[in-house]
Amino acid sequence: MTIGMVFLSFLMAIIVGWLFRQTVHVQPWRAQQAVPVLPTAPAAKAGLWVFLAVASSLFVLVVSASSMRLGLADWSPIPRPRLLLLNTALLAFASLSMESAARAGRRGDVGALRPWLVAGGVLTAGFVLGQLVVWKQLHDAAYGMSSSAAAAFFYLFTAAHGLHVLGGLVAWARAVSRAWKGAKPAALRLNVELCATYWHYLLGVWVVLYALLVSGGAGLAICSSNPL
């Protein structure tokens, strides 16, 4: 749970810093001066960031849980699926494509935006498919969900991440339909920017999870060094 506490301390620091900026030198009972109107980011953007904090809390807790479980005597790692490396590359390229789409959107270039957006989605679908193949490989090699604690955590990690990816693909499908139906450029741009942010987050979470899965003693020791 130490990991959870570190994560929460980090979030609390952000909140305390933010509140401090809002309250220091403010005397609400006297303040009747003019209040400048601050430019506000679109609500959807703030909503996404709050959601990312919630999702991070979920992932941190799962990592915390497995690191507590790790200490027990009967821990036996599962082999390392080699396919994971390819999947990681697919997700990285998906994230890059989304970024290119977002940049095209900022330039107002819908023609360039469309292929990048589609590429991002297709690569991501490839990632999900790859993860399913990994599950199949493990299952065929007798490393099913209930075979060992390490296997159970492996499935839990990949499923939790995969479901977030699938949720992203729903948002992506909406962005695609907007890109082809000729939605307002501002709306489309916001959509694609949100997708890009979310994809970078998904990639970041996956890279951390992947590192924890495969890096033996330093990580969670879920996968051994034997490749599958």
Binding site: A34, P36, A149
Partner: protein, 599 residues
């Protein structure tokens, strides 16, 4: 987007065009009241559902008291049924009633109105949030009806016993309950995103953070806590579900049950306790912080005095919220943890008393020399202070490891947490309903029935829970079906149990009076007008009562002052609404305006 707005000659923010949101306009009755995207309707939906399922939990507590007060007289309560009643009572009250009512009910109604917004920022997600909540409630009720009945594992659901044969509802009961919790968390996340982002992004012109009423602060911080803590419940529910259905061993150690070696191996039951209480302790404050915020506003409004130490109150809410994440293991002192670990958690637990005491002192100092009106909201607020202090003081006992060990799992614990997070927040709920019912319906609740309900509830809950502490001192354990045949428990304990049960039935009956009042006043209550309490906050300044879709008519209000301008020296009326510009203060038109009664 322009970041600069010209100011008028007085130097105050002009009543200008705040970015308008596009509102969803429902055309049919079903669109307006069933699949509604209006936060006010969603709030009422949440509140009615929560109170409905809460009544089920209330009836369960009567049945428990029947068994405890008069053991063996009622054949239909067997040991399994008793455990199921205990589990469902706790689970419903904590999660499906209090969390849903404070955040889904009061949060939805008050946040947009109090910060001067037309609606929540994501109305569609807000609507989905309610329907997920309703689905969770339906799943919970279903879990009581399936073969084997509801789970009897206690509201804490500790494995391994929660999913082992022999515990009531260890198969379908617990599966449906866990699914219900997962659905609840998903639904809450959608609502919670709304509450947080609405406070951050949709405040009207002039509504700086430090001008927000403390009600909004309380709900806002509680929502942040919930958004960060509920994932722990989510994860543990999923993991236990996998243990139960797919045979994984997250929490289940190798064990022999009824002579059979089970297929589990190497799971860690303590892991569940850590995850559960990582959610469970913040949950206490998810319930308490909105109550803190609401009670601050009730006291200030009905004592006609600005809240004492507003900034301190805001910071105390934040500090309590932060600390609530580092105390969870004080629920696990008897789990065999490292003594140093216990020392750490005892220390953090006792530190929480500091910001909490600051809040209590500030409430009392707000009352000090106030122009106190003993209206029902005020009565409930004062009752809350008493009850909360009493319940909080016993928390000091239980927070210390050495004192906790003999008291752990006794009736003392039951008395403590019912006082501090059961009765105290519920008193605030009653006060808040009396305070805002006129805004929601346009009619006042009947004060005579209200006073009857108040006195029976306030005195009655003391009659229930105060003696229960003594039962705990004697060593009467909690969650036991019967304590007969034990030599250390004297006859007088049984007498006391019977007394507690009778008091519980009386208090329960008083709640029927309250419900009758809610329904009858809707049809026959006195018309209230727009601002019956002469309050300053924005929800009382709406052009119509009850507020229409969009809340504020053509123009959003502009805020010129904080929420606590009561009894300002040199001003005729003893309150100045937040949206009154300084140049209009001498004329004091807001107090003479014909009240736009909606009745």
């Amino acid at each position: 987007m322009s970041s600069h707005v010209a100011h008028d000659e007085t130097g105050f923010a002009p009543p200008a065009e705040t970015g308008e949101v596009e509102l969803y306009h429902a055309k049919t009755f079903i669109g307006k009241y069933i699949w509604s995207q209006d936060a006010k309707v969603i709030a009422v939906q949440y509140a009615v559902t929560a109170i409905g399922i809460g009544l089920v939990a209330l009836v369960f507590s009567w049945l428990m008291r029947l068994q405890l007060g008069f053991p063996g007289r009622f054949a239909f309560i067997d040991p399994s049924t008793y455990l199921q009643l205990v589990s469902m009572h706790g689970m419903i009250m904590v999660i499906y009633l209090l969390t849903a009512l404070f955040l889904g009910g009061f949060g939805n109604y008050l946040i947009p109105l109090m910060v001067g917004a037309r609606d929540m920022v994501f109305p569609y997600a807000n609507m989905l949030s309610y329907w997920f909540y309703l689905a969770a409630v339906v799943l919970l009720v279903t879990s009581m009806l399936v073969p084997g009945g509801a789970s009897g594992a206690g509201w804490t659901l500790y494995p391994p016993q929660a999913i082992l044969e022999g515990t009531p509802g260890a198969r379908w009961g617990i599966i449906l309950l866990l699914i219900s919790l997962v659905v609840f968390v998903i639904g809450f996340t959608m609502g919670g995103l709304n509450y947080v982002v609405t406070v951050l992004q949709a405040r009207t012109r002039g509504m700086t953070l430090m001008r927000m009423p403390l009600t909004v602060w309380g709900i806002f911080m509680a929502t942040i806590l919930a958004l960060l803590a509920f994932p722990a419940l989510f994860v543990s529910a999923i993991m236990m579900l996998l243990d139960q259905t797919l045979g994984t061993s997250f929490f289940m150690p190798a064990l022999i049950s009824r002579g059979h070696q089970l297929n589990y191996s190497g799971g860690n039951p303590l892991l569940f306790q850590h995850l559960f209480w990582f959610f469970g302790h913040p949950e206490v404050y998810i319930v308490a912080l909105p109550a803190f915020g609401i009670v601050s506003d009730l006291i200030s409004t009905h004592a006609r005095k600005n809240i004492f130490g507003y900034r301190m109150m805001v910071w105390a809410i934040l500090v309590i919220g932060g600390l609530s994440f580092v105390v969870w293991a004080h629920h696990m002192y008897v789990s065999g943890m490292n003594p140093y670990f216990g020392f750490f958690f005892a220390t953090t637990t006792l530190i929480i008393a500091v910001p909490t005491a600051i809040k209590v002192y500030n409430w009392v100092l707000t009352l000090w020399r106030g122009d106190i009106r003993l209206t029902l909201p005020m009565l409930f607020a004062i009752a809350f202070i008493f009850t909360f202090v009493n319940g909080g003081l016993t928390g000091l006992f239980l927070g210390n490891v050495v004192v906790d060990l003999p008291l752990s799992d006794t009736m003392f614990v039951v008395a403590h947490f019912h006082m501090v997070m059961g009765i105290a927040p519920v008193l605030v709920v009653f006060g808040a309903i009396h305070h805002w019912y006129p805004k929601v319906t346009g009619r006042m609740l009947d004060a005579r029935l209200g006073k009857l309900h108040f006195w029976v509830t306030f005195v009655g809950t003391y009659a229930i829970f105060f003696p229960m502490h003594y039962l705990g001192f004697m060593g009467v354990p909690r969650r036991y079906y019967a304590i007969a045949g034990t030599s250390f428990i004297p006859e007088s304990a049984h007498l006391l149990n019977a007394w507690i049960s009778i008091a519980a039935f009386v208090v329960g009956a008083a709640q029927i009076v309250f419900l009758y009042n809610l329904v009858a006043s809707y049809f026959r209550g006195q018309p209230s007008g727009g601002n019956p309490w002469k309050a300053t906050t924005l929800e009382w300044q709406t052009p119509e009562t009850p507020p229409k879709h969009g809340n504020f008519g053509k123009d959003l209000p502009v805020v010129y002052r904080w929420a606590y301008d009561y009894g300002v020296p040199g001003v005729g009326p003893d309150y100045i609404p937040q949206n009154v510009p300084p140049r209009e203060v001498p004329a004091a038109a807001w107090d003479r305006a014909p009240s736009p009664a909606g009745a």
